[in-house]
Structures are given as structure tokens and as C-alpha cells.
Symmetry: C2
Subunit: 255 residues, 2 copies
């Protein structure tokens, strides 16, 4: 089983959208795909019609068990080969209550190891905060996907965040392969092209060749509670994520 984490401390850059769209496409291609919602706000959980405040177990329960297990926590979606582990409100308390305890960064990695025969891919959606839930996702994943909006302010925090992320990981891993994905690209504004050029100059091969365009169908898909591949398979946003998936399945050495 391959584990991908989708993270960025900046809010509203398309983390949940990227997780759901890539997972939907993997499932449509026949891969058994698990999504994990590590965000206490529960956007991914809500996308599939479950209210985060009605979830009693979910991801949070992993932090309460001696040996964390996902058994009994996986919810099937109406899409074949696609299921998810929901978030709950209590995830917002993990840092305050458990943050200082030993080994709290490896809970998700241990739980995912337990189900590695049942799934081909696990995609982990992160909250917009450098805390215990995100650290767990970074420690558990084989590759990190960082959606970034193509605008000036979003680039400022990116470099700093990537340094902080590798600092968090240093204790655990040599380096974590990461790929930056430019999202919500609006080809009508000059600033978007300037930001894209700056991203390419600074990150080179870590920047995905594919750019995700602005597409109102993403919001329509989320209203319908369906991944874009099931809701509007021919729209430009979906075609871009399909190309991105090709790139991710056949990476260049750096990524």
C-alpha cells in the first residue's frame, strides 16, 4: 500500500479537493483506495455526508488506544473501491491533551500498517496547522503532496513551511519526497503566471508539470458528495487531475 499525505499550513488551497479528486480517480481505475480525514473541521468527512460531530470513533480513537487499529472505523462511499476514515471534533484537542507524550507522531503509521493488505493507496487529508495530526500524516506517508495557490502571498509561507516540515521529520526520515501542485490557476490574471514562474524557479523538479485550473465543477461535485471523476469526468479540472495522477504514478527522481 502506498501512502500519500496532502498538506499545507495555508488554508483553502485545495487540500481536501486534491485528496478527494485523486482518490476518486484511483478508485475509478480499480485501485482499492482509502482516504483518511485528519482535519478536526471534517471537510472530507462532510463531503461524503457524515457530520464530524456525530462521529464517535474515527481517526481520534487511534490516539486513545494502546495499539491503534483502523478496524471498525472505515466507512464505504457510494463509489466502488473508495472508502474513508472520518474525522471527529475531538481531533482539535489532540495537541493540548497528548502532544507532549512520547510516540504520538507514529500513531497513524502504525494503524495504516495494520490495513496495508486491504488497500492499494491511502490518501491522508491534513488540517491547515502544523500539529500532531499533520506530523502523523508526514510520518506515515511515502510522499507529500503540497497544493499551493498561484498567488504571491501563498508563496511567502511555502519555503518556511517546507523547512519546518523537514525539521519535524529529521528525527524520523532522511528526506521526504515532496511535490508541489499549483492549484486554482486563473489564466486571466498576469499575477498567476508570475507566481507560477516564481514557483518553477525556486522549486524546479519538485513542482508538478501539471497545473490545476480554476473550475466551478469542483464545488458542484462537493454539493453532490461525489468525487469529480464520478460527477463530471470530462471537465477541465478532472482532466488536469488525471494528468497529475499520471505524473505521480511515474515520478521523476526528485519528486
Amino acid at each position: 500500500m502506498k501512502v500519500w499525505a496532502i498538506a499545507n499550513q495555508k488554508g483553502g488551497v485545495g487540500k481536501t479537493t486534491t485528496t478527494v479528486t485523486l482518490a476518486g480517480e484511483l478508485a475509478a481505475r480499480g485501485y482499492r483506495t482509502l482516504m483518511v480525514d485528519m482535519d478536526p473541521h471534517g471537510s472530507l468527512t462532510g463531503y461524503f455526508g457524515v457530520e464530524a460531530d456525530k462521529v464517535s470513533g474515527g481517526v481520534f480513537s487511534l490516539f486513545q488506544q494502546e495499539s491503534p487499529t483502523l478496524r471498525g472505523q472505515v466507512i464505504a462511499t457510494c463509489v466502488e473501491n473508495l472508502s474513508f476514515v472520518p474525522a471527529s471534533l475531538a481531533l482539535a484537542t489532540v495537541d493540548r491533551q497528548l502532544g507532549a507524550r512520547e510516540g504520538m507522531g507514529l500513531v497513524l503509521a502504525r494503524a495504516l500498517a495494520d490495513v496495508r493488505d486491504q488497500f492499494d493507496f491511502a490518501l491522508v487529508d491534513c488540517p491547515p496547522m502544523l500539529g500532531v495530526p499533520m506530523v502523523n500524516a508526514l510520518a506515515a506517508c511515502h510522499r507529500l503532496i503540497v497544493p499551493v495557490q498561484t498567488e504571491h502571498l501563498a508563496l511567502q509561507g511555502l519555503d518556511r513551511m517546507l523547512r519546518t516540515m523537514s525539521m519535524i521529520l529529521k528525527a524520523g526520515k532522511p528526506t521526504l519526497p515532496y511535490v508541489i501542485v499549483a492549484t486554482m490557476f486563473d489564466k486571466r490574471t498576469k499575477a498567476a503566471y508570475q507566481a507560477l514562474a516564481a514557483l518553477h524557479e525556486q522549486y524546479g523538479d519538485h513542482l508538478a508539470n501539471v497545473v490545476i485550473p480554476v473550475d466551478t465543477q469542483f464545488r458542484e461535485a462537493s454539493r453532490a458528495g461525489l468525487p469529480l471523476s464520478a460527477h463530471a469526468p470530462r471537465t477541465r479540472g478532472m482532466l488536469a487531475y488525471r494528468d497529475l495522477l499520471e505524473e505521480l504514478l511515474n515520478p521523476t527522481p526528485v519528486q
Copy 2:
């Protein structure tokens, strides 16, 4: 001094943009205005050209002092009557390190009381996370402003979050007057009108009459490091925030 907090656990809804734009307009009208950046990602700090990883004091230092004071932490901007207290990376550790300690929710309130003669308004920009920094902002403010995108998924988590916020506060205050502001309204999509109608039905008088439209000038202003009132005072986004400010300065009883 009036204190307004701008918060929403959902990311990328326009919290920082709302803080900077309202503060810029207050300053343009001659009010001495202080912005406080409680987000460890430091978007507001970066907007005004300061790197959050180069900040040694800032908001985080309040959590380390016996009697928290903002003296020496306030940075002037190039706009008259407008200054700010920067965020630093260390804010991301507050929950893990200090969250369980008594009185950690009142640090900002005590520090702002210290400078209440120097400013007419203090606007506090919150991170997209229910944690100690946001709790401090809620405890210190007289009014809560909640920017919300006019799309279906953003409405799902709103009700739950408002309930959680008032639970956090119950121990401290009777109720906190809040106003919901619909942002990034795209008049070309039917879904936006449906979401706005749903907001009005569910929240009635708590919903601001003014709706903030999509406007590419916000990104241009952030590139220039200037509030919109200084960068493009006649653009439709600015006119909407001016109307919003009128509404906030002359509230209806519920808000």
C-alpha cells in the same frame, strides 16, 4: 478600544483579507488601529513584509511572560494610524506546550488591556484551527466576525463551529455577538445564490447585509503589501468592505 476577532476554522475563506481591509479602512478614517496576527503561518505578518521566522518576540512572547505586555512588540506599517503585532512560528507550539496550563485563554485579553489607551480598534486575525490562539482571540474580543465562502461545503461546518465556539466561551462570557460575512461571492454561479439564501434562512440577523464579491484586486493589494483602501480605493471589493464597516459601526441588536 474596541476589539474585533476574525475567525473561522475553515481555511482560505478571507480571514486575513477581511482583517487587513477593515483595519486599513478604519485607519484611513483616522482611527488608531492595531492588527494582531495569531496565525503561526503568519499571512498578515507576511502581507506587511515581515517574515514570521525572523520574528523573535511578537504574539508568542505574550505566552512566556508573567504579566503579558505588548510594549515593544508593535510594528508600524507605512499606512498612517495602522500598526500590527506579528506572529512567529513558535505560535504553532502553544497548544502542545502550554494548552493545559491555567489561564492560557486570557493572555491576549490582558495584553490588550495594557494598550487600550493607545488604540481605538484592535482587529485579531485567527488561524484556521480551534486552539489556544483562537480561544485567546474569542476571550479578548467584543465582537466576532466570521467570513464564510458562499458554497455548500463551507456551510456544513459553520453551525458546528459556532456551537463549539460558544461552548469554549461559556465559562467566560454570557454570549458573544457574532456576525457572518459572505465572502468571495461569485454572481455568475447559481450555487452562490443558493448558499446565500441558505445562510440567510439559518442565521437571519447574524448575517451581514453586505456581501463581499470576488475581486482580483485583493491579490494585487497583497502583492503590494498595502490594504485595499490604500491600493485600489474605488474597486468593488473595497466599496463592499466600506459598506460592511458602516454596518459594523452601527449594528442591529442581534449582531
